[in-house]
Structure formats: structure tokens, C-alpha cells
Symmetry: D2
Subunit: 343 residues, 4 copies
């Protein structure tokens, strides 16, 4: 049994890790930390876990985590970078669900996250945990930077087009809609039901922290610089991300449907829907799947890719466990064979 620790077990990604790991036959949840809830039973805070998780929150210190095999950070940005090095030195693998190790450039990280990076030395080593791109590196990684939710949906949607050089990389558009759980479990006016229910809006159009992460990823795929307009939106639902991606073809139309099907033929969690489909976020709710459709409306030179995930699963906890599976040589789907909850 792999002994897993979860630092920051009181946010939505933390409880989602617990939901999935509770049924993972190769993992035992050994430690769950929460600075504010030390001594409280986990299922007292989260009655959804009653009968599934028999643990008590402990303080988030390295000692408590030292007999874990893997530690997941489900913390706000800025915490993992303070503790990762000590854990790695003890031979503990780390999967960071926060943004601390996602950008390779420490200065760029500081620019977007507003604080100095506490552990720039690990940025080079950290492996960006998008298995569909980095599978082999992840298998050998000590430290995985688990991608953001928007970056996962957007990169998986653009990947086949950029890899083949079929579209103009300078004018990519990602119009992305997220459920409100993406904002986390924090007492904030902006995500009250009275503020977000029955309403729709864009936000952070001037620049969202996921922009440099997406750009970095797309440039690695395209092997050149890319220009991306990224507009995130808040949609009145709890789970789900829907990315609507636009790019201009720079050649005559190939059979894009076939291209996408071939690109993802071996991927268990990326599912290219039949031609003319429209993926629906509910069909991946609670599952680790990404559903993708490709359209070329009116035969014009603008291609439209629709890519949907559950932001808390493939966009966070599910992907983290997929990464853990790879890091420990387990079957990639271990613990992740759940079926989406519909309706």
C-alpha cells in the first residue's frame, strides 16, 4: 500500500483527493493536514466522507508526513514551495496541485503570483504533470507540478493542431467557462450563490494566472512562441470546465476528426467524440475524462475545438492521482474508473 499524505485537506481539491483515494485499492490515506482543524475528524467537516475516510486532521509539518510515500499539496499557492524540498530529501514523492512549480521561470512566477519564489532550484526538476504530453517524465519524477484546470482543458484541445503545425500559433483564442468550485472553498462575496447563481460573466480578461502556464505549455507543443487570447468566465454551476478554442488553419482542411482520434487513440482519459458532437460538462462530472469535439463551421478556415473536463477531477485531484499512478508504476486508471454522475 502506498501511504499518502494530503497537505491542505479542507479545500475542494483536498476533499476530492479523499473521495477518490478512499476507493483506490493501492493507496492508504495516512495523513491529512489542516492548520485550522487540527484534531477534528475529517468526516466531521465533510459528512460526505462518513464511512469512507477514518482520519483526523493533523498539523501541516514535515515530521508528520515523513512516513508517507507520497504527499499531495492541495494548498493555496506559496505553501508547497516551502515544504517540498524537505520531503523530497526524505525520499517522499510530491504532487503539487497548487501553482508553485508549474512555471519554469521564477521571475515570471513572481510576476504573476506576487511573491518571490521560495524554492527556484526545484523549478527545473519539477515535471509538468500533464500525462498526455509528459508521461515518461512523470514516471521518473520525484516532484510533479499538477496542471491548473484551465490549462488542462486548453492544452488537450489545442495539442493535435499545434503538434502538427496546422494552425496559426500567433492568434489562438481560448474562451473558457468554469464552474464556481474552481474559485475554491473560501469565504468570499464574489462566489456566494446570490452573486454567482443565475448569472454569467467573464473575469480577469486583462490577465489570468493561468495564461503564462497555458502559453508555456503550448509553446513546448508548438516548438515556437505562441500568441494566446485567454478569456475565463464564471458559469452558474459547481463543477465543470468548457473550453471553446478557436484557431485559424494555415493549410487546407485536413480530416481534423481523424487527426484528433489518432492523436488520442491510446489515451484512456481523453475521449474524442464522434463528428458533429457537442460535449457537455455533465458527461464528465466526477470522472477523470476529457471529452473533445472538433468543428470547422461553414467550411471556413477557423477551426473550433470544444474540450470539457471536471475541474476538480481531470483539472485537479483526478489528474494528481493519475500522476501518482504513473510515478509508482501502477496502472494509469487505478482508482479512476468512475462513471460520470448524470443527471
Amino acid at each position: 500500500m502506498i501511504r499518502a499524505g494530503i497537505v491542505g485537506g479542507t479545500g475542494y481539491t483536498g476533499v476530492e483527493l479523499l473521495r477518490i483515494l478512499a476507493l483506490h485499492t493501492h493507496v492508504e490515506v495516512a495523513v491529512v493536514t489542516s492548520r485550522s482543524d487540527v484534531g477534528t475528524r475529517v468526516d466531521a467537516l465533510y459528512p460526505s466522507l462518513r464511512g469512507a475516510i477514518d482520519a483526523v486532521f493533523s498539523a501541516p509539518d514535515v515530521a508528520a508526513l515523513s512516513n508517507c510515500d507520497v504527499v499531495f499539496f492541495a494548498t493555496p499557492n506559496g505553501t508547497a514551495m516551502l515544504m517540498a524540498e524537505q520531503l523530497l530529501q526524505q525520499g517522499i514523492k510530491v504532487v503539487d496541485l497548487s501553482a508553485d512549480f508549474r512555471l519554469k521561470n521564477a521571475e515570471e512566477w513572481q510576476h504573476w503570483y506576487g511573491i518571490e519564489h521560495a524554492c527556484p532550484a526545484l523549478l527545473a526538476e519539477a515535471v509538468y504533470g500533464l500525462p498526455e504530453i509528459n508521461r515518461e517524465a512523470i514516471k521518473n519524477a520525484r516532484l510533479v507540478a499538477n496542471p491548473g484546470c484551465y490549462p488542462t482543458a486548453v492544452q488537450l484541445g489545442f495539442l493535435p493542431l499545434l503538434e502538427k503545425g496546422l494552425v496559426d500559433p500567433q492568434h489562438l483564442i481560448a474562451d473558457v467557462k468554469s464552474g464556481v468550485s474552481g474559485a475554491g472553498r473560501k469565504a468570499e462575496l464574489a462566489t456566494l450563490m446570490s452573486e454567482t447563481g443565475e448569472s454569467f460573466k467573464a473575469y480577469a480578461v486583462a490577465g489570468h494566472r493561468h495564461l503564462p502556464e497555458i502559453t508555456q505549455g503550448l509553446e513546448l507543443i508548438a516548438k515556437q512562441s505562441v500568441g494566446l487570447t485567454f478569456v475565463p468566465h464564471l458559469t452558474p454551476m459547481i463543477r465543470g470546465i468548457h473550453a471553446t478554442l478557436y484557431a485559424r488553419l494555415n493549410t487546407d482542411a485536413d480530416d481534423l476528426q481523424a487527426l484528433f482520434e489518432q492523436s488520442y487513440a491510446d489515451e484512456v482519459f481523453v475521449d474524442v467524440l464522434p463528428a458533429n458532437s457537442h460535449p457537455d460538462t455533465r458527461n464528465v462530472r466526477g470522472s477523470n475524462n476529457c471529452h473533445i469535439s472538433i468543428h470547422q463551421p461553414q467550411g471556413q478556415d477557423t477551426v473550433v475545438v470544444l474540450s470539457v473536463i471536471d475541474n476538480l477531477v481531470k483539472g485537479a485531484a483526478g489528474q494528481a492521482i493519475q500522476n501518482m499512478n504513473l510515478m509508482f508504476g501502477l496502472p494509469e486508471q487505478s482508482g479512476l474508473s468512475t462513471v460520470a454522475l448524470y443527471p
Copy 2:
């Protein structure tokens, strides 16, 4: 492997059976019928099942079901009673999720359902499939009448009080709120999102079909006639039932918390929350659990029981599979150990 057939696979209880059975290690889904979708892949209609169910809808005739070990009816009322006898004669067990075999009295059934009962001979044999009451009978049953969603939540909430004779059985009140999936997957004005979203209402106050079913069950528990005022409501969410139950104590207050905990101590799917809790439907969403709390506000003689379930799981498909597990001698939790999807 148990070979299971599902008649009426295109409604919400049908697709929920498929979601759960897809991961049930002792069951193989052999046949899924749908009169209107013969020849269509199941996952074409329900993309949430892509990769999980590899089946094609077939016509709902007895021949096609004849090599099943168990057949689930997830049909509108009036269908199972036409087919059950033939299946039973072939040694196939039947779990009926519709209302056809829930009432013992054929005339009462006709009164509430508006058509003559086609198979009254089986009413006596049919076992009412609430395992917390009828477990032993279910184990030996050929034909199980799976309870309705409202009746499940209400009976489990009243059970300990009536069994012990602690409350006045003549003036029970069940104020119950259901998500809209309880109305089924039917093209109807009344359950459009524009009609039910952001709004709350009672309905069928004059008399709902679940009233005689609940009354019949409560009378068996109380071993006397009961008087019940049952008011169902529609609440703007998809899944979940919340029963708020009121009864008048006819003795001095016992320790009701202890009573409920003892009553359900051995039940894996009925979870009595700590004193002073308020169960939340989200904490059972997608799971087969029933969460219950007991209150006695201001120490008065009115006891309040709060009982929540997922109407499609413990209120339908999950309970049906729980019944199937009992009928086939499997562990009662087989395939039902999922954790609720929160948030």
C-alpha cells in the same frame, strides 16, 4: 457473473442502474432495452457511459431477456406487471423499480394508478424491497418491488419511532422536498429548467401516489393504522430528497438520539448523524446512503426527524442493486461503496 437485464434503459433510473452496474464486479449487463432506441448504442444516448458500457439497446421482449439471471424494470408504471410472470416462470429474478408491485391491494393500486392491475396474483408474493425492514424476505424473493423515493426517505425516518410506539401514529406529517430528476426523463413543460429553476413549490397536496405506499409501510411497522399528511415539494436541484418528519411524542422524551443509533447500528446505508446535525442532500449525492438526524425543538413534544437520500440511488437504482445483492447472496454493499460527490 450475474447476467442482468434492464428494461427501460433510457430513463434516469435506467441510466443510474447502468452507472452503478458498470463497476459492479459480480454483474455483467447483458441486455438493455428501449422500445424507441433499438439498435442505438447506449453510450450514444448517454455519453457519460462512454468507455463504461458496451451495449446496444434491444427491443423489450421476454425472449431477449431469457438468458438473464435478473431483470430490472426501470419502466413507467404498467409495464413490469405485463412481463414479470413470464420471466419468473423461466427462473429469472425480477426487481421492479416502478410501482407495479408496491401495493398489496389491487383495488387500491387501481384507484391510484388509474388502470386495472394486470397481474394481481403476484402482489402477494412480491416482497417490498426496503432491506432495513424486509431483509430476510428479500433474500428469498423471486420478485422485489423496489420502493419509491419518497417512501424510502419517509419510512426510514419514522421507523424507530413507530416500531417503539413512541409517537401518535394518527397524526404524522411528512414534509418532503425532491429534486426534479424525480419527475423522470420526459418532455414536459413542468420540469423545464425555466419552470423549475430558481423556484420552489408544493404539488399534489390533495394526494400523491406515494401516499398509500408510505401508509402501507408505516402501518406494517406500527402494527396499526396510521394517519399521515404527506406534502411533496419540488426544489430547484437535480438530485436529492429531504424529508422533514413531524410526530407527537406520546411519552416523556426518551433519548431519541440513542434510539436511532441503536436501531440502525447494523445498517451500512443508514447513517444516524451526531446529535444536533442537519443532514444535507449533497452529502449523499451519488451514494446509496441515507443520513438521518433527530431533533426535539425547545424540548416540546413534537419530534422532528430529518432524513435525506439521493432519489436516484437509495431512492431507486442503488436500492435495487442492494436488493439484487441480497437476492443473490452477495455482500450487501457490492458495487455500492461509492462516496458522495461533494461539492
Copy 3:
């Protein structure tokens, strides 16, 4: 023109007062205060008011309010009681939408609200602002205590029954469901969309602050002590309250439909629906109406009253303006003739 001041203009009742007063032809909004937003344009915080309200938040001090004719307190509990006396001394009428002046007994107020009452001398003078009961007193009042949202829906539903002495007053039950805007505009975990969306729960079953307010009101109507079990619930929508009321008839059934119709024949904002109706909260959304239905299921001795309001209108701001209209001799509907927003 009546010059109106609003203290606490940044909560939901404050902005709702502004929405209605913006179109009230006899009122000019002279002052809107907010301690935290002094100097900010009101419509910068609330873009819904752009073009409708041309005002800037000022500090909440008595001097700034001194040339108002009426001041509305849309503040948290505990503020109005500090300022009301000074305003009244200047001849300014006060409508308090908080709970400060709702209870007649200062000790009971302290028990439920947890602080000592700063102005008990005014409790006797304050008129409870439920026009359907207190219309004449309101007309002559200097200080009106505007009822809570739950108390409005519950009292209007029980009124005809208790007035006529038709039901047992010792065992009343009010099972009430509220949209989340009733919790106010505060940064709190419990009312995040991820916490309240797609879920339903009861809360405060042990005792809610509106319980003594409702009881006080019902006892005045019944002219005797009453026993009330009050269970509030949170339903996943923004606006609306649905009260389902239960009482036991102590005489043979009268024509309850006619009784209610007669009781409210002259009330413009209380609308008794035709027999066998089920009021829907959406049909009063944004309006000052209360829709009521009466049922006697299966002809038993339990009567069921369904009473719905918009918690922010008839349950708060609309009723406050109705009271203001009465206090200033205006037609009671002035500014309140809006039609509910459906769908």
C-alpha cells in the same frame, strides 16, 4: 417628495430598497450610507442601478441623515437601536428592517440576539410593521419594526385560522424554505454557491431567531399562548420563501377557502389563489405579493396552508416601503405595482 435615507446600503435589503425607490414617484433617495464604501458611487458597487440611482455612499452618522424625512435601516442587528432615538427626536420617521425593535421584551431580545438592547425604551413604541395586522398603528407610527421574512410568510398563512380560533394553537408547525439571499451579502463559507447549490438542508432546528418573533405575532392574533415548531430550510435558489404550515382543526371543517378569501379580500398584497392551487415562489419574485393556498388533504383534520413571498420584497424592502407609504399617507401600493419576473 419624501426624502429618504438608507443606512446600510450595501446589503441585499439595501440594494432592494434602492431598486424599488428608484421608481417610486413620491420618494427621493437623499442619503445612502455605507461605512466601508464612503465616497464610492452606489452604482459602482451595484451596476444594476446604473442610470437609476445617482448617489455616493456617505458615512452612517446622524448628522448626514438629518434632512431626511424617513430613514430605513438595512443594517445588521444592533445598529438601528443605537441611532433611532436621535433620528426620532429630529422628527425623522424610522423603518428598521433589522430585528432591533421586533420583540417587545428586551430580555427575550437579549437572549436571542446575544447582546444587551441599547434602547429598550423604544420597544413599546415601535410598531410591528405587518400592515395586514397593524395597518392603523403603522399609519401613526414614528418607528416601525419591519418584520422578518420568515415571520411575514408564516403569520400571513396562519392569520385567518388563528383569528377565528379554528385550530389547536398549541401544536402549530411551520416548515419553511428560504432562498439563500436571506442569509445576506456576507463573505461566508456556508452560502457559497459550491456549498448551497444543488443541495437542500434544514438548519437551526434547535431554535432560530425568528421563532420568538413569530410566536409573539401569533399570540397576538390568537389572543393566547401558542406552541410552534418552526423548521427553516435552505433551498438552492436566490429569492423566495415557501412556508408550508400545518395545524389541527378543532372543529368540523369550515369552508376554509372562503374564510381565507374573505380575510384577505381587501388586501392588495395578499392573494388567495383558487382552490387546489399550489403557489410557486417564482410567481412573486420581485413583487410585493404573498400568494396563499389552503388544503385539507384527504379530508382529515390537518389543514395545510402554503404561503409564498419574495424574501427581499414582501419579506423585507417591499414591506418597508409599504409601511413608509402608510406612515406618509400615500397609497399603499405606491412604487410597489411591479409584476413578478417570470420565468
Copy 4:
């Protein structure tokens, strides 16, 4: 008083016309037709209108409408074109909220709507009722083709850019999200709450009927052909449209904020928000306003315009009444000065 008739009073645009007209001081609702509800009181079907509309549904024939001054068609496509000519001959003005007269080319209409146009002779005369573009023509029109909801939001967002020739007109992108009321009040599986709640999807990417309408409008503004990629989405809320528009600047960046402010300086219903704003659909819910913001992320050459309306008001009934006001020489805001319902 203007005598208004409404043909097709049972859909969402019909009831929205009634909601607004009930308070319009210059209009009397003389006739409301519904083929299926002849003889029924309007407020029996729509209790939200109790006390506001005292009318009974009549059959939709020309005779019944002959003493109206104006007739609104809130009908499915294909009805207005059968009746408009006869009404116009009697001197009755017509505002058609369906699509019958929106396209100038009868063949294109037939291509998208699937039936032959019954009245092509009127297509040339019909004035496209977007007052911000066609105000003078509307004033003199006998027949106004009220724009679709998507076309209104998209055209108002692109207008200043295309008018000034600032963007490449060949590669416009409109990523638009609509609440489900846009699908109308029809018994359909696809818009059940269980199907659309808590989920997000694109639809009709291959081609939506509003595409030719938008293109026709944009070409008139741009005075040249345009290429538009239009992707409509369904978002889990009832009312509201949010258009996110993308275009490539073909000159160095002007002061786009100033441009938009100037373009709409005289428009009462188009409100350009301050720089760096993000309009929210809730802030126009129930009102006839369009809120617009302009962004140029990272100073790149892609401009992003955010344009929001209430699909049933500025996207349908409100705009129809704005057009009626113009046609009858009334102040353009008559009856339309409502404030959005927030929260």
C-alpha cells in the same frame, strides 16, 4: 391609449410582453391570443400576472385583432408571415418577434427555416428593429422585424468597431452564452432542468439560424462582406445572454473605450461600462439594458468585447416595446424604465 394585441401569448416572449405592457402607461392590452387556451384567463396560466392583466385568451384570427393599433407576434416562426399582410392592410402596425421578416432574402430564409416564405413581398418593407442602427426607419415603419436575442447582443458589441473599420471583418468570432429561456416554453427533453442544470455545452456549432441574421446585420454596418464564426452555448441559468466577441485590429490601437462611449453616448439602453469592467448578466436581468465592456488583453491586436443583455427583454419583448414606442412617437423609454433584479 394604444390598443395592443399579442398573438401567441403563452410563450416566454408573450408573457414578458404582458409583464412590461401591464405597467406601460400608454398601452392597453386589448387582445391576447392562444390557439390552445381559448377562454382561459391569462392569469390562470401565468399567476405572476394576477392583478396585473385582466384578459382571457382568444383565438388567433385577424378579425379579433382588427381593432388593435399594434399587434405583436410572439409566435413560433412561420405564423406572422401568414397574418401580417391582412393586419397591415387594416392600418394595424406589426412588430414580429419571430424570425419571419428578419432576413431580406427569401431563399436564404427558406434555407435556414426549412419552409417556403409565405409573404416574400413584405421582406423588403420590413424594418429590422434594432433601434441603435435603424431608429429613423423604425419610426416610420408599419412592420418591424424584431431582432433575435443573439443578434442583438452581437451586433451591439461589434457595431462601433465595424462602423469605423478598425477590425478585420473576415475573421470575427462570436462566442455567445445563453440562458435556457431562449429555447422557449416547449415540452422538450433537452431543456429539462435535469438536462441543463449544472452543465454547460455548445450547440449548433455547424450553423445556427441566427448566423445569417447576424451576418446580414454586420455587413450593413461594415458596408462589406464579413466572415463570422458564431458558437452559441447553453448556460445553466434562465435569463441572460453574454456575448464574448473577438476581432483582430487592423490599425494600431485607438482608444477603444472612448470610441465605444462616444458611439453609444446618446443611447439610453446601451451602457458602456468603465474601463476594465466585466459585465454580469444579472445586472441587466429584467431590464432593457445592454452592458458592454471593451478589452485589449496584453496589448495584443485581438480586441475582446463583452456584451450582455436579458434575452427576453432587450433580446425580445423589451426591444419590441422600444420599437413600438418609436413607431407611435412615444418616448423611447416608456414602460421600460425598470431596474434589473439583483440579486
